[in-house]
Amino acid sequence: MSNIHATIDAVWRIESAKLIAGLARIVRDIGVAEDLAQDALVAALEQWPESGVPDNPGAWLMAAAKHRAIDGFRRSAMRERKHEELARELESKLEPPDLVSAIDDEVGDDLLRLVFTACHPVLSTEARVALTLRLLGGLTTEEIARAFLAPEATVAQRIVRAKRTLAEARVPFEVPRGPELAARLSSVLEVIYLIFNEGYSATAGDDWVRPALCEDALRLGRILAELVPKEEEVHGLVALMELQTSRLGARVSPAGQPVLLLDQNRALWDQLLIHRGLTALDRAAARGALGPYGIQAAIAACHARARTAAETDWTRIAALYDALSQLTPSPVVELNRAVALSMAYGPAAGLEVMDALMSEPSLKNYHLLPTARADLLARLGRYGEARAELERAASLTRNARERELLLARAAGLGG
């Protein structure tokens, strides 16, 4: 018999989002809904060690939470009529467990409402991330704090404030419709991808990858893809995350050194995740033109399909960056396009694009531009210019180790 507390944790992870979402539909406040759900969890922690885990733990938790809500309303000193009505409505919704399966679609709708509320634009990005992980990912405050290397009290505060903001702004518990849907959905995707990236290339801390966060983001993405299967960008994002995750095991050498994509041992790529990524990409493509996530996934797919680095279809990658740059123009995308062009058509083609970027103000202090440019100049035999670029890059980076590397490379070019 496994540890009962670990079992309750597991049940919580499986049921909490559905529980909170179902309660939020009734009480119309995700803060109150989460409190009720927590009460039900406390009741489970008290009773299950004695009684054992019930056969249908999800229905048990929902019933416990609803009873708690009814008690609360009834006992409330205010005894407003509105509350009486709510209490009655709650009682009428105490379905027996065998009806639970019949309301599957309703569960999906509730979850989707919860997703959109947790990622509502009235909240700061940080608040959206914390709330999403907490309400949908089933993570504890402590787990979120650990993942983002923030003090637990800070995260707890952030969540409390977020719930208050939602209540004060009277954010309706609903799925946006019409033209608003696209904008709101992209906010949801952004939150999920942000969580993923924090795991994939951590911005802080000792570990530069945190696979657990990647897994949380992937799980959220997979759930969302089933909730809104007609939205191609959801599949695009899932494809991108599956494909990037497939390389996690190859990105670090046994000695802990990062390994560049083209140097990675492709045998270490997770073929199952690649297969899942390509399938998700097909689902995205089947719905029409790819969006920004879909295009990035298509680029990742070019790498995934190449059995060796030399087989990489750079012409296609350059074309995809071209499309990406039209959809979401940015100097960083341009720089990537330049690198792809240089791989497809030779250093001169890439250099032309990079030269145009030299006057880009936002890249003025961006050490990656001179680093990449130096590479192309060196390949063209223009060693003096290459050296100057490497030295410039060295002066721009704030990382001492990186500066050393750049200067060593510059010195290696002779002169």
Binding site: A6, R222, G249, G256, L272, W314, N336, V339, A400, E402
Partner: protein, 142 residues
């Protein structure tokens, strides 16, 4: 964490008895639930061992043995691959599975090895910044 969920064979499954429509429907629903929860990575059912074979290794020797194989309860009739946070979560999901067989049956839960199990090789230094350098420059992306 990844877990392999192994559905053990029974006399019926080894005899090639196909599951009832009712069971197929229940299984389909269960699979759908797994997918909706983002838990299921893969899953397949297997033909009886009479259509399989074994390769036995002894030093450099290889001997091929055709199915069927005797020890029915040790054989596998199907599998899933779950991505979950704990063994308990895998157990909870498996408890929700309809009995996969028409007779008494058993499902075994086994953890899959991952890089993490080979120690803390993913360690630090100021690698992270250097990594991002590659990250943003495609063609060198890690």
């Amino acid at each position: 964490m990844k877990f392999m969920i192994l559905v053990k064979a029974t006399k019926d499954s080894e005899a090639g008895v196909m599951p009832s429509e009712e069971l197929l429907t229940a299984m389909g629903k269960y699979n759908e639930e797994l997918v909706k929860a983002g838990v299921m990575l893969a899953g397949e059912g297997l033909h009886p061992s009479s259509k399989g074979a074994r390769v036995r290794f002894s030093g450099s020797q290889r001997t091929v043995i055709d199915g069927p194989f005797a020890e029915t309860k040790e054989l596998i009739a199907g599998f899933w691959l779950f991505q979950v946070k704990s063994k308990e979560e895998a157990i909870e999901w498996v408890k929700r599975c309809p009995n996969p067989m028409l007779e008494d049956s058993e499902i075994e839960i086994r953890q899959v090895f991952t890089a993490d199990d080979f120690g803390d090789a993913l360690t630090p230094e100021l690698r992270e910044q250097e990594e991002r350098l590659r990250e943003q420059t495609e063609g060198k992306q890690g």
